[in-house]
């Protein structure tokens, strides 16, 4: 698990970057068994058409560029593409939008992804505290995190019991438990997600500075969850920094 994830990390660092694009971040997550959609990075239109066929329409397109980390601001996320014709048309549009937003944007490709069934949105995050090390954050997504800051933290590594308490102690918990006659969400899947993120960060703590899995869709009990979007900010391990004798600079954003 660690080796596979490290390969991705190393290649990003080797390019002189510390901000992973979504595609790279998800490869790291996948290496640790986190549920990510079956997505593919298309470098050409032909590849895009091929992948879309494999995945099955409708699909989503997300342009990957180290210089564009706020994809929706740059309008480089296009959803619900229903036909090959539409995909051809949008291929041009998505590239144009990227160029308009950042003329110097380096484009790694376009992620072709299945359209996901919406679920209850949660956010899982990681930050590094100077005294206590990496901390794991959990909360409901959207307005709950933006406006109400209804989130909770634990220091990594966490225990399963910590994970369960985190989920239950946010104010919005009834939304997950099933308020107003809704089916309860798959709490076990969230526990598993939190445990896996904790394990991942604990093993890669010398490399990871911050992380956002936002949003994560959580489905009804027994139906699992999926990481819809992800960001990872890397740091250069100290020994490496000395070895190279120069500090990497964040080129992006």
């Amino acid at each position: 698990m660690k080796d596979e994830a490290l390969k991705v990390v190393e290649s990003v660092l080797a390019q002189g970057r510390t901000a992973m694009v979504e595609y790279e971040a998800k490869q790291v997550l996948r290496a640790y068994g986190l549920p990510v959609p079956n997505e593919k990075l298309a470098k050409t239109l032909d590849e895009a058409l091929k992948y879309a066929e494999e995945i099955g329409y409708p699909v989503a397109m997300k342009l990957m560029s180290p210089q564009i980390l706020h994809k929706s601001d740059a309008k480089v996320v296009l959803l619900n593409i229903k036909t090959p014709e539409e995909l051809r048309e949008k291929w041009g549009e998505i590239h144009e939008n990227a160029r308009k937003y950042r003329p110097d944007a380096e484009i790694l490709g376009v992620l072709i992804a299945p359209m996901l069934k919406p679920g209850r949105e949660v956010i899982i995050g990681v930050t590094e505290d100077p005294q206590f090390g990496h901390a794991l954050m959990f909360g409901l997504g959207g307005i709950f995190v933006e406006v109400l800051k209804d989130v909770t933290f634990r220091i990594i590594p966490i225990s399963e019991r910590d994970a369960e308490k985190m989920i239950r102690e946010i104010k919005g918990y009834p939304i997950l438990a099933g308020a107003r006659g809704e089916e309860p969400a798959d709490i076990d899947a969230i526990v598993e997600l939190l445990m896996k993120v904790s394990e991942l960060v604990d093993e890669l703590k010398d490399y990871i500075k911050e992380m956002d899995l936002n949003p994560v869709f959580v489905y009804e009990k027994g139906r699992g969850a999926v990481v819809v979007d992800a960001r990872i900010i890397l740091k250069v391990p100290e020994e490496r920094e000395r070895e190279i004798g120069q500090s990497y600079r964040e080129k992006c954003a």
Binding site: A19, I123, G125, V126, T127, D129, Q131, F132, G133, A135, M137, V145, K149, V151, T152, F153, R154, I155, I158, R161, D162, K165, K209, E210, M211, D212, N214, R231, I233, A253
Partner: protein, 471 residues
């Protein structure tokens, strides 16, 4: 590792012979106040070690021989207390190392907190200590107060600051001023403090070391911390996890300001203020967080008396002789995340059978204003035997006319001792009530002046018990 830390820190709390470097006969000086503390405690028998004042310019202080240098000190010296200007401290540390003394309290301020030169001296002191296996409390601190063994390096004179009696509470504070104020306050509140440590700039002995020490200290039931900042977070977490399995820890964390928002390149980073991180650490390690110092000592008092009978759940029963106070307590139960117990049918039947019709049976049960002690006893009897009740709050308005004060105190103390369920009392009132409250506390029942504070303290017990059950 536990045994090693006990051996290393023992001289701070129970020294055989204390060298007071910078002892003086000038009234009000730090070196004089500390000298007077030890002298007074030798006279009253609490300090049974020897006292060796050190000062190159004096031969004798109040009948004590004064040593002119560290080198001259007798070989049985096992604790050095330093109260001389900062610039002389590094050289003195080297003398102490040469003498083989392994425990040092540096009261002197003017080090790291005042800039580069001070930081350099601190590093030098630290290196001497490390190289010679010396443990250091301070610098820039008030040191140690341990009434059972008569150790008192608090440089605030006895006539200006009362010293609390001994008790099962340990109190650790980074800030010296806060520590001194708290000791004075605890004395006034009649709260017993078994050991107080104020470590100031903590170049060596820190919170984690003290937690490891207090695990093994049988005289201490609960450890309270006033924390400004933790230097080694991982060490703190590990030590906290070790001690909370054995005894409760209560922490008051100052500085609820946010720094996380600055320079955060991720969403999570912008939400991770220092305060939420401390919250996380406390939850994960089973430390009970206090909102303010009143809360801290409310919790400490409850833990000190009820550590052996933690509640098995969060269902609270309330008995009162005033309706309003019962409502306030019920509100507090909800506010602090506890549940109101549903009395069993059996309890209801029992109470209805014995109570006059105008008394209110339920939760809260209101024994009403014409109650006597026996009516309280029946209610307590029903509540502690009810399988649906985990802890009992008994509100006693001592002002009511027919209540026999001594008898109700006997009853509460008796049930506290006999039943497995914790009982917390609330007594609202003035001087007369305070007098009864003190009597109750002496008999092992923690008493609080308002329903909120009583229930809030009980909530701390419930949280700690939950942590232990799942740890």
């Amino acid at each position: 590792m536990g045994e090693k830390i006990v051996e290393e820190l023992r001289p701070f709390f129970d020294p055989k012979a204390v060298a007071l470097i910078g002892a003086t006969n000038k009234r009000g000086k730090v070196g004089n106040v500390i000298f007077e503390n030890f002298k007074r405690n030798r006279e009253n028998g609490s300090f049974r070690g020897k006292l060796y004042p050190v000062n190159p310019k004096l031969d004798e202080i109040e009948g004590y021989r004064v040593y002119h240098s560290v080198e001259e000190l007798p070989d049985d010296t096992d604790l050095a207390v330093i109260a001389i200007p900062a610039k002389f401290v590094p050289a003195t540390m080297r003398d102490i190392a040469g003498k083989g003394i392994k425990a040092v309290i540096i009261i002197t301020g003017g080090f790291g907190e005042l800039g580069e030169e001070g930081k350099r001296m601190e590093r030098e002191i630290y290196e001497i200590a490390k190289a010679n296996g010396i443990r250091v409390i301070g610098p820039n601190c008030v040191g140690v107060y341990a009434p059972d063994t008569g150790v008192d390096t608090v440089f605030l004179p006895d006539e200006k600051m009362d010293r609390p009696k001994s008790g099962p509470i340990a109190f650790v504070s980074q800030s010296g001023a806060f520590a001194a104020a708290m000791l004075d306050w605890a004395a006034g509140e009649d709260i017993g403090i078994g050991k107080m440590v104020s470590y100031g700039n903590k170049i060596d002995v820190d919170d984690a070391d003290l937690m490891d020490y207090f695990i093994h200290d049988d005289g201490i039931n609960v450890v309270t911390f006033y924390i400004e900042g933790v230097k080694d977070g991982r060490k703190f977490i590990e030590a906290a996890k070790r001690i909370t399995r054995v005894k409760p820890v209560v922490a008051l964390k100052a500085g609820r300001t946010e720094y996380g928002a600055k320079a955060a390149s991720s969403h999570t980073g912008s939400l991770a203020g220092q305060d939420v991180i401390y919250d996380a650490v406390f939850k994960q390690t089973g430390i009970i967080r206090a909102d303010d110092f009143e809360h801290m000592f409310d919790l400490a008092k409850a833990f000190a008396r009820l550590k052996g009978k933690l509640p098995k759940g969060d269902r609270i029963g309330i008995i009162t002789d005033g309706g309003g106070a019962g409502v306030m307590a019920s509100d507090a139960v909800a506010r602090f995340g506890l549940k109101m117990a549903e009395l069993s049918e059996e309890s209801r039947r029992f109470l209805k059978e014995h109570f006059p019709p105008h008394a209110v049976v339920g939760n809260p049960t209101d024994v009403v204003g014409d109650t006597d002690a026996e009516r309280y006893r029946l209610a307590i009897e029903a509540f502690v035997n009810d399988p649906n009740v985990d802890a009992v709050v008994v509100i006693v308005l001592f002002q009511v006319p027919l209540l026999e004060d001594e008898k109700i105190i006997d009853i509460l103390a008796d049930y506290q001792e006999r039943s497995g369920k914790p009982i917390v009392a609330v007594a609202m009132g003035g001087r007369k009530t305070e007098h009864y409250a003190k009597m109750l506390e002496e008999r092992g029942v923690p008493v609080y002046p308002t329903p909120e504070r009583g229930v809030r303290a009980l909530a701390g017990l419930v949280r700690y018990a939950e942590y232990l059950r799942k740890a």
